[in-house]
């Protein structure tokens, strides 16, 4: 009941085009992550859904109702800001209570809800403190409590974890996923961090330059990028991209006619023919190992190919390899091709790159 539909939405600041003709459907109950580099329009999109910005053109519907004339406070949504935007002059309790009060919730009811939510997020001890006396994590919880207490159909979150330290961020990530499951509300979450997007979203909208580059679930986004931007933005290290005209005959003849680029994920390149890899379903590349980065369970090698390009190879083998000449094998089904416009070109009968392997390894 609380799906969000953006239709032909355009946003300009003066002459500057921020969002161009955006069409987006956010399903009710999904955990949708808007992700992209800074300036890609993700925050603006979120703020337009909240009603804090007005779209220059187009319409926004929430739960089937047009929101164009609806004030932010009447949209049945709550937002968690990057800097939390807590009211510094009010205690934690008053911060949480403010929205309820404005919505004319009776006093006893308010009291009950606040006690309940404080219990849930673990703020009971801090109810009578002002935000300045709380730690970053506690402030984060106040912001969440303030949003949750209104029981909105839609939660909007604008980089809510970016001000926390790494450990707390990890923990809050898990808690937010848990929260989403429990509440069943629609979550729209903005971040520039692809790891955060991949690990939290049930649905990811990848944006760049005010446009949606790809919209899919995390799995497909990783294994089936729609264009070069997606392939490079998602994954650490990103997908290896080679200009086709610098590749050998063996590879070129595999490529569809309009293809200009070839890509494959770093972990799909193997140093040996592993089980299931036959000479006729793989391609091979030769080069020299030029660098090595040890990341705990995995090792990332830099490989200088014969054609002068450098690619990354991720593997989990021990021991580390010496920096010497190597031959690399990649299954044909793991190759992705892109045309001159950087869009994906699919090989006939190839619906997606084979999706063996899990995201967890790669993200």
């Amino acid at each position: 009941m609380s799906g969000i539909v953006l239709e032909k939405v355009t946003k300009k600041y003066g002459d500057k085009l921020i969002i161009e003709d955006l069409n987006l459907t956010i399903e009710s109950g999904s955990f949708t992550v808007l992700v992209g580099p800074s300036g890609c329009g993700k925050s603006t999109t979120l703020r337009m859904i909240a009603g804090l910005e007005h779209s220059t053109e187009g319409s926004i519907h929430i739960g089937g109702v047009s929101m164009n004339q609806v004030e932010p406070g009447k949209r049945n949504l709550a937002m968690v800001f990057q800097n939390y935007a807590l009211y510094p002059t009010m205690t934690v309790e008053k911060n949480i209570e403010y929205g309820l009060k404005n919505n004319k919730v009776p006093k006893e009811e308010r009291q009950r809800l606040i006690t309940e939510i404080a219990e849930t997020v673990g703020l009971t001890r801090h109810l009578h403190k002002k935000p300045e006396f709380l730690s970053g994590g506690e402030r984060q919880r106040v912001a969440l409590a303030r949003a949750m207490v209104k029981k909105p159909a839609v939660f909007l979150m604008d980089e809510p974890l970016s001000n926390l330290d790494a450990k707390l961020r990890q923990q809050m990530r898990a808690e937010l996923i848990e929260l989403h499951k429990k509440l069943g509300a629609t979550f729209v979450y903005v971040t520039h961090d692809q790891v955060e997007a991949m690990s939290m979203g049930t649905r990811i909208v990848l944006m760049d330059g005010g446009k949606v580059m790809q919209e899919d679930n995390p799995h497909n986004l990783y294994y089936d990028p729609a264009n070069l931007f997606s392939s490079r933005f998602i994954g650490t290290p990103p997908m290896n991209i080679l200009a086709l005209d610098r590749c050998g005959e063996e590879i070129r003849k595999l490529a569809p006619q309009q293809a200009r680029y070839l890509g494959f994920r770093p972990e799909k390149a193997k140093f040996t023919l592993e089980p299931g890899m036959e000479p006729d379903n793989t391609v091979s590349l030769t080069g020299t190992l030029s660098g090595r980065e040890l990341l705990g369970s995995e090792i990332i090698y830099k490989v200088l190919l014969e054609n002068g390009l450098i690619i990354s190879v991720k593997c989990f083998d021990r021991p580390e390899r010496e920096l010497e000449a190597v031959r690399l094998y990649v299954k044909k089904e793991h190759l992705a091709f892109f045309d001159a416009q950087e869009q994906r070109v699919r090989v006939a009968a190839q619906s997606g790159i084979s999706t063996a392997g899990s995201i967890g390894d790669s993200a």
Partner: protein, 292 residues
């Protein structure tokens, strides 16, 4: 810092010495000297005669001082009240950064950098009972002329008007800058919390700028206790002492009646009042939070 220079130990004292000496000689010592003088009877020429607390006794038994004190308080309440309310209104009106608003902002600030002598002379001329512009404009509206500076029920208020005209722009400027420093996201959060305009104004705007408002109120109170120029130029304390306030009275007692002890006692009382208000201000400030 420690090991570098042999003279470093004395140097800081040498550097601060001129300033500290001057401040001691011209601020701290005079305060004590003032208190000392208040216990004597002296006409600046003859010998000083110890008078104990008799100057203070005279202050509080006579009606002159109480009348003067009342005038000062009345002036303060009107002045501070009007300045704060009008400055707040002006600041809210000028919120939007348009060329017209910037122009009005600058214009309203200009009287603040002009000498009070000039301001007094201009307003004295405007408020002239017979040939002043104000009474002419009143007559155009069909109203009777007002004795702006000659009617004892109006004169004090007239002086308040001059003071308000001079300082409202400055106060508005400060409030404007405080308003501008309220982060926009607070208004966004409030909008999402479905807050009414009224609630936003009282719960967010006013609370956020309250430290600035308190500071301005303190400044204006202390300033209004010191009102002198307008009185000395425009009314000389009259008519019938209606505009005789503390500083002016101290001045008169010193240089017209040569009653140094009595004038000093008055200054001590005024200092006490200002001191109490300042202490009260800092106490109140400490109780309030320092927003971050």
């Amino acid at each position: 810092m420690k090991r570098l220079h042999p003279s470093v130990k004395v140097l800081p004292y040498l550097l601060v010495a001129p300033a500290v000496i001057i401040l001691t000689v011209f601020y701290l010592y005079p305060i004590l000297y003032n208190i000392y003088l208040s216990f004597f009877t002296w006409n600046m020429r003859g010998p000083m005669k110890f008078a104990g607390l008799s100057n203070y006794a005279e202050l509080f038994s006579g009606r002159d001082f109480l009348h003067t004190l009342l005038n000062t308080l009345l002036y303060m309440v009107m002045d501070v009240g009007l300045v704060m309310v009008l400055a707040m209104g002006l600041a809210l009106f000028l919120q939007k950064n348009t060329p017209l608003n910037r122009f009005i902002q600058t214009l309203s600030f200009t009287p603040n950098i002009i000498s009070l002598v000039s301001v007094s002379l201009i307003w004295m001329w405007l408020m002239n009972t017979d040939t002043g512009l104000f009474n002419y404009l009143l007559s155009v509206l069909g109203a009777a002329p007002v004795g702006w500076l000659t009617d004892k029920d109006v004169a004090l208020f007239s002086l308040v008007l001059v003071s308000v005209w001079k300082s409202v722009g400055f106060n508005a400027l400060i409030i404007c800058s405080a308003l501008g420093s309220i982060p926009g996201y607070l208004y966004e959060a409030a909008a999402l919390d479905n807050a009414s305009k009224r609630s936003v104004f009282f719960q967010i705007t006013l609370k956020m700028i309250s430290p600035t408002l308190f500071f301005l109120i303190l400044m204006n109170i202390i300033g209004s206790f010191q009102v002198f120029e307008t009185i000395n130029i425009m009314t000389q304390g009259g008519p019938s002492n209606a505009t005789n306030t503390l500083i002016f009275s101290i001045y008169k007692q010193s240089f017209e009646y040569y009653r140094v002890g009595y004038a000093s006692a008055m200054a001590v009382v005024l200092m006490g009042i200002v001191g109490l208000i300042t202490i009260f201000y800092f106490k109140a400030l400490n109780k309030r939070v320092h927003y971050r």
